[in-house]
Symmetry: none
Subunit: 413 residues, 2 copies
């Protein structure tokens, strides 16, 4: 099985938008054992769309096409694909009702241009798009599949997950050989150090493909094993995971796909613990991360964004003499913030964070990147100091994830 | 002039690496008036490289190719390109000396495999690569140019800036004309409504290229004008901006590149106003956005993440009967949160937000996506209700940016 990804949009060709859709689809296709052979990017241009489709169908079995399905003038994908397949655009009643309903739900009059979104090529099959109004659909011809999806990432992703990937997995079951993959998620260690800790890599790479994927929360290791049978591939993965854990277990927060926030959410729910946060330098980021998880009201009480020192004093009761003697960025202040939280929220767990995100505010003694993080889990308090990076946004994320990781470790004790 | 970007690497096709090189090159080419018509991504595979080159040279004047020039086994780009152009690989003395020198400078013995990096196709011209050991080069045939550069972003970028872009600008001086671009950033309006508000578009698109770029904070309009001279292109932009503002000014928060957070930061600094926030459903996101701006301590005091109702009561003094009578998600609660903030922080401005981000918690009367936002600017209070989307993370962002936009509008009054 061979696949090609075609992404359409002038914004991809003029450099104003990163082509994250192509990468996301490529990753998903790799995971189901049908790796993309080609990624093609073209503009909102009927000729280019036709040429790209013709070429794709001459060299692959599966075409995944996104972009240009919105209601605006440069969105000509649907018409061009329909023309290519000699299929007329006709109104799909269900789709029209759904689109009208979406606007009615919001109490907003529907712009007429949205009616065009209810048109679908006559011979295409409709795909679900729960999040948007653009029609997703696919053609099946000569045992080749051509999927057409919106360019809005959330809509495309949901369509892929709900419909395209299940369909492909079913259709090609048994034909793709087996790929088993496994993600190991680490935090608190730099990519180069992780690399060095795992070296020599041969021991691992003779079993699996190994990719280092750094992101805001840490570094993911992605392992992929190919074999004729799933069981065989799975055994390679198991052996490789064992080697990796032997060398790096203290940095691993997840063997799988859960985010650090999700891991913590599940630990809190298991233990029926509640949590509150006091944030200085992160300005609300930890609260934001914790509340990204649906159902977070079951454990997250709230917090205080104690950015100014006066807030640390007034709301959290940090003593003025603590601030004067040790500074706002100190273990003592972090501790004071924790006790303040405890007094207000009386939650089972509490996190307090105070640091210097930069670019200004650093001193020789406390450079930019310095942070003190306090955690309190059922009366068990810990204050840690870290020194991270020089860049503000990177620091804010490193700080927040370091705090979450401290909490995770305490919750596991 | 037409250009195509070819990026080579299995890591781009299996989704483990974002193709930032293609986006970077596309942006640079657009800026010098030679926009890319196509971006093609292929694997480390000799046949694919040959096919892609043949196709590129059949449809564009300039090919920009990166990736697969490193010393590892899967890097076969150089050999494949040399074969395509029927050119033999020969050792380049200068390059060999430079590579040996680089290892000598580091006091590291040179792995033999690096000697292969001194090989260059005989008929190609060498391009500088100050940062690495991979050879960059280009072919010129039949008035077409084919540039071959390393995939390491820093090396590719330096080669482009030092050699490729100057060469192209010189070669095509006078032929590319001038491109001027301008971004107009909007928020609080959906892409389709913005499109309709601006329609008929001919008035605008006869002056400029117009792209709609939706993102988390709103929809950007990107205008590009081509003309023989810069002054002429600039005049087209000015005329188009005027038309757009006439139709949509209430949604425009920036003519330029600043984010909504930056716009607000500058407004607050100008007026020497301080701000505090009370966040329920956004869980700290607004505070996080405001503190992403360096120097935010000059205006941001802090906030209360009032996620649980008890926090709304205890810390913000929202009355129990308000919560019981109107609900936590209500104009009355938002107002109570505002007064609470005022009492605690006494800041010049305050934002309070309470809503239902989803996926659960909605009712017929208050569906998921409902939010009440209160703003207080120097005693002038406003409470607005919005109904947005059904997806939690999208809602959190819509809510936060709607709040920031309300604040912006008040600050401009």
């Amino acid at each position: 099985m061979k696949a090609e990804i075609i992404t359409i949009g002038d914004e991809l060709l003029n450099g104003s938008t990163q082509n994250t859709n192509a990468t996301w689809i490529a990753d998903q296709m790799w995971r189901i054992g049908i790796p993309a052979q080609f990624i093609t990017v073209i503009g909102d241009n009927a000729d280019a769309i036709r040429d790209a489709l013709a070429r794709s169908l001459s060299r692959v079995n599966i075409v995944l096409l996104t972009g240009g399905l919105g209601p605006t003038h440069d969105d000509i994908t649907k018409k061009s694909v329909a023309d290519f397949f000699d299929s007329e655009l006709v109104e799909n009643k269900d789709l029209r009702v759904r689109i009208e309903q979406r606007f009615a739900d919001r109490g907003v009059p529907m712009p007429l241009v949205n009616l065009e979104q209810a048109l679908v090529p006559e011979e295409a099959k409709l795909l679900p798009n729960e999040l948007g109004t653009a029609a997703s659909f696919y053609f099946e011809r000569n045992n080749q599949l051509c999927f057409v999806m919106p360019g809005v990432p959330a809509e495309m992703q949901q369509t892929m997950q709900d419909a395209v990937l299940p369909l492909l997995k079913q259709k090609y079951a048994g034909q793709t050989g087996s790929i088993v993959y496994q993600t190991i998620r680490t935090t608190g260690i730099f990519e180069s150090s992780l690399f060095e800790t795992l070296s020599p890599l041969n021991e691992i790479t003779q079993l699996v493909n190994l990719a280092f994927l750094p992101h805001r929360a840490g570094v993911d290791l992605r392992l992929g094993a190919h074999a004729a049978k799933t069981k065989e591939a799975q055994e390679k993965i198991t052996a490789a995971v064992e080697i990796i854990l032997r060398k790096t277990s203290q940095f691993v927060y997840e063997i799988g796909e859960r985010t650090l926030e999700q891991v913590i959410a599940e630990l809190l729910l298991q233990k029926q613990f509640t949590i509150s946060v006091a944030e200085s330098c992160t300005g609300g980021l930890i609260g934001n991360l914790l509340t990204n998880i649906p159902g977070s009201s079951n454990y997250f009480c709230g917090g205080v964004i104690a950015y100014a020192n006066s807030v640390k004093q007034q709301l959290l009761g940090v003593q003025e003499k603590t601030l004067n003697q040790y500074g706002a960025v100190s273990a003592e202040t972090a501790q004071g913030m924790l006790w303040g939280l405890k007094g207000i929220f009386n939650s089972d767990c509490a996190l307090a964070i105070t640091g210097i995100a930069g670019p200004t505010g650093g001193t020789a003694e406390k450079p930019v990147g310095t942070v003190f993080i306090g955690s309190l889990v059922k009366g068990d308090m810990q204050i840690c100091k870290f020194i991270f990076h020089r860049e503000r946004l990177i620091n804010k994320h490193r700080f927040a994830y370091a705090a979450l990781n401290l909490l995770r470790q305490k919750l596991l004790e």
